[in-house]
């Protein structure tokens, strides 16, 4: 897995083709659960687990599946996996499960998962598909965490509040940096603004890099001419 190709794939999943930032898939959870960092992290972990498992299963069965019935089969596989993950969350992270509520079962409807099954897992080896599921899930999870952390910081002035839901123990209020905060950030519009800012930031960085590359190439060309 440490081949350079995995690193390329990592960059693709986290940056170039980030399911949330670039493909804009699965926006429902991105917008709905990211009111805190912990919620983002929890749903991120669940999504990674479902994506890796569904990519693996779809890839492993790809030879026997007729193209005509592939979609119902993906739906079956994904729905069962999500049910399993939900049960696991209920058993081991009951508080997080309560906090995420309906959004764990709703992973079923995250089109990023069907998209990866269709675009990648149905055409590639099991190993590659597992890796793809992991990097794509990671890209999605990092976006959830970034937006969750951003909104929590702005809206409540804290970070990592409620970490006890994941790691157990006494209720944790997190790092309280400010008392109170900018309410709008936790309300639904805050989710849209944060996502827009994240996409804009990514575009700015990408453009800068493109320009740098272009200038470097121009410079090389000029030097070559001299």
């Amino acid at each position: 897995m440490t081949s350079p190709r995995f690193i390329d794939r990592l960059k693709t999943g986290l940056w170039d083709e980030n399911p949330g930032l670039v493909q804009l898939l699965g926006l429902c959870p991105v917008l709905a659960v990211t009111s805190t960092f912990v919620n983002g992290l929890g749903l991120g972990i669940a999504t990674i687990a479902v994506l890796v498992a569904s990519n693996g299963l779809v890839s492993a069965t790809r030879r026997w599946i007729l193209t005509e019935i592939r979609i119902p089969i993906y739906v079956l596989i994904i729905a069962s996996l999500v049910t399993c993950i939900e049960l696991v969350f209920k058993a081991w992270f009951p508080y997080l499960d309560r906090s995420l509520g309906i959004f764990i079962p709703l992973i079923v409807t995250n089109c990023a998962i069907v998209a990866r099954a269709e675009v990648f897992a149905s055409r590639n080896t099991v190993g590659a598909s597992l890796a793809d599921g992991f990097v794509m899930g990671l890209g999605f999870a990092l976006l959830l965490m970034a937006i969750g952390g951003f909104r929590e910081l702005l809206g409540q002035g804290s970070l990592f509040a409620g970490m006890d839901m994941l790691i157990g123990g006494e209720p944790i209020r997190g790092l309280v940096l400010l008392d109170g905060g900018w309410l709008l950030a936790i309300l639904p519009p805050g989710a849209f603004f944060s996502l827009a800012l994240a996409i804009a930031a990514k575009n700015v960085i990408d453009r800068r890099q493109r320009e740098k590359l272009k200038n470097a190439m121009l410079g090389q060309a000029r030097r070559a001419r001299k």
Partner: protein
């Protein structure tokens, strides 16, 4: 699609469905016990905030009474009453009721009161109030619900069981008065009910408590 393709597709689907069902069934078996235990623990833990400073030795959740609507407790859904005992003697009662007039739908609250009618704790279980405004009634977000502890129908007097904005004695929350008003009213009505039905509630001995006993 030829007939053989249809059959092949159907068989594939059936096989995959069987595998998926097995997977779910297996996970269910594996997690069933933990989930039950968690739910029980969650319930016991969710009742703790209403039991502050009480000594009791009974399993609280075992003495459950479900009061189906219509009833005189706040809320239009079934209310739940838990009775708390120490050495077979009643110590307190916990009420799970709904404050009907929240800002965004009913607010499910837990009210505990000892046999003297003194509030042992109020805790918001479920609500859909505005984040940052009404949701400060949650005990994780502010100490607002603490002000009920030790109060009773005599302290303050019934007319002062209201938020300060309405001439009562209870603090309100900046930017949100609907939520506190609804909760104060629900707590008061719960205490009124408790006052009227206290003897009935503890009429049956703790050992033979009836799980589904109906009370008016």
């Amino acid at each position: 699609m030829s007939a053989s393709t249809v059959i092949k597709g159907g068989v594939t689907l059936a096989v995959i469905a069987a595998i998926c069902t097995t997977l779910v069934a297996f996970t269910y078996r594996l997690t069933e016990e933990r989930i039950d235990a968690n739910e029980q623990a969650l319930l016991e833990r969710s009742l703790q905030p209403a039991l502050s400073g009480l000594f009791y030795d009974s399993g609280v959740t075992e003495s459950k009474i479900i009061v189906p609507p219509p009833h005189d407790l706040p809320g239009s859904e079934a209310a739940i009453i838990y009775r708390v005992y120490a050495q077979q003697e009643p110590v307190a009662a916990l009420f799970v009721v709904s404050a009907r007039d929240g800002y965004a739908g009913p607010i499910r609250i837990l009210v505990g009161a000892d046999t003297e009618g003194l509030v042992t704790g109020v805790h918001v279980l479920e609500h859909r109030e505005t984040p940052g405004l009404g949701d400060r009634v949650e005990s994780t977000k502010s100490d607002w619900v603490k002000q009920f502890e030790g109060r009773s129908l005599l302290d303050p007097t019934p007319s002062e069981w209201a938020i300060k904005g309405d001439g009562g004695q209870f603090d309100q929350l900046t930017g949100a008065s609907v939520t506190p008003r609804a909760i104060v009213k629900a707590v008061k009505n719960t205490l009124v009910y408790y006052d009227a039905h206290r003897d009935e509630l503890f009429a049956d001995a703790p050992a033979e408590s009836d799980q589904q006993k109906e009370v008016p």
